[in-house]
Amino acid sequence: MSERPTYTPFHPRWYRPRVSTWWWLKRPSSRAFILREVSSIFVAWFVVFFLLLVAAVGRGEVAYQEFMAWAANPSIVLVNVVSLFFVVFHAVTWFNLAPQAMVVHMRGKRVPGKLIAASNYGLWVVTSLLVAWIILAGSR
């Protein structure tokens, strides 16, 4: 912004502080929030990785082995480990916030938030076990 006007009597001159690009470093809660938002990048990566895996499986045994060799590359492993952390972080923060967004009334009383969060986690565990069983059983 250009230069500030000087004060003239009876004309209040307000001070408007600037917001720095690094505003989020100041408070722990803001840092956690930005991390949460950034985790969506890693979620996207996981989706892409998963689609590549499925495509490789579809193209046959050789393509699949090539893909697995590529995935075993230390840098890819590192990226995936970091991504795993962020995806779990993303899921945990999402489930913890869910009760605030989902207000369910049953028989006139509000269902407690912990129950909603718990049922989300529960569903996550069950679905994960189901998927794991399908894959592991199918691979035999």
């Binding site: 307000w14 001070y15 917001v19 505003w23 989020w24 809660s29 605030q100 967004a101 009334h105």
Partner: protein, 247 residues
Amino acid sequence: MNDRITMRVARYRPEEEDEPTFEEYEVPCHKEWVVLDGLNYIKDQLDGTLSYRWSCRMGICGSCGMTVNGEPKLTCETFLTDYAPGPVLLEPMQNFPVIRDLIIEMTDFMQKLTAIKPWIVRDEERPLAEGEYRQTPDELSRYQQYSMCINCMLCYAACPVYALDPKFIGPAAIALAQRYNLDSRDEGSGERLDLLSLHEGIWDCTFVGECTEVCPKDVDPAGAIQRYKLDAALTSLKSFLLPWGAG
């Protein structure tokens, strides 16, 4: 324990300076004293030129919101001893223009409050002779939490979206809109939706959740906004799929 504590207070005298400065004051630090007591001591005994807002000193009028050590707080509810041995940094609430010292400009907030139509909207008013609108305790509990807002604006001070985009209508305004939307006596949720479904309405919110963290009255504006997003999405879906039912 120390019985004195230093308060580093932001000062801004528009008639004399271009930018805020800081001044340090040493105040007694009694067990029952809150930050506001420290400010009153400064004004009464040390420096009468310090300006700040306060009134009820019991956390219900909403006047005394300020930034204490970087966090938005009501100074009447924040004990000085929590910051011992100090110093305590006292600045005006973030995200608002500063008029003077610790006093911020709040007409933007007042306009937004008015814009969301915070009154009972009905097609037909019931005459007084017919008595009250019936409302069961359950119906009351659906909106009661959102009616507790004291308009202290700490949620606006904490909201990074409002910091970056002052056109955002903000947590307290949306929570108040929900208070009326969920009131069984009100019929105005359609009218409010028209304003709130704009970009600066609910969709600007990215669910940071800081507003709920700092709210001194547990209004949970973040929850109100997310619920509203769900309602708004469902409403527009319904009117898309079933246009003849819209009204």
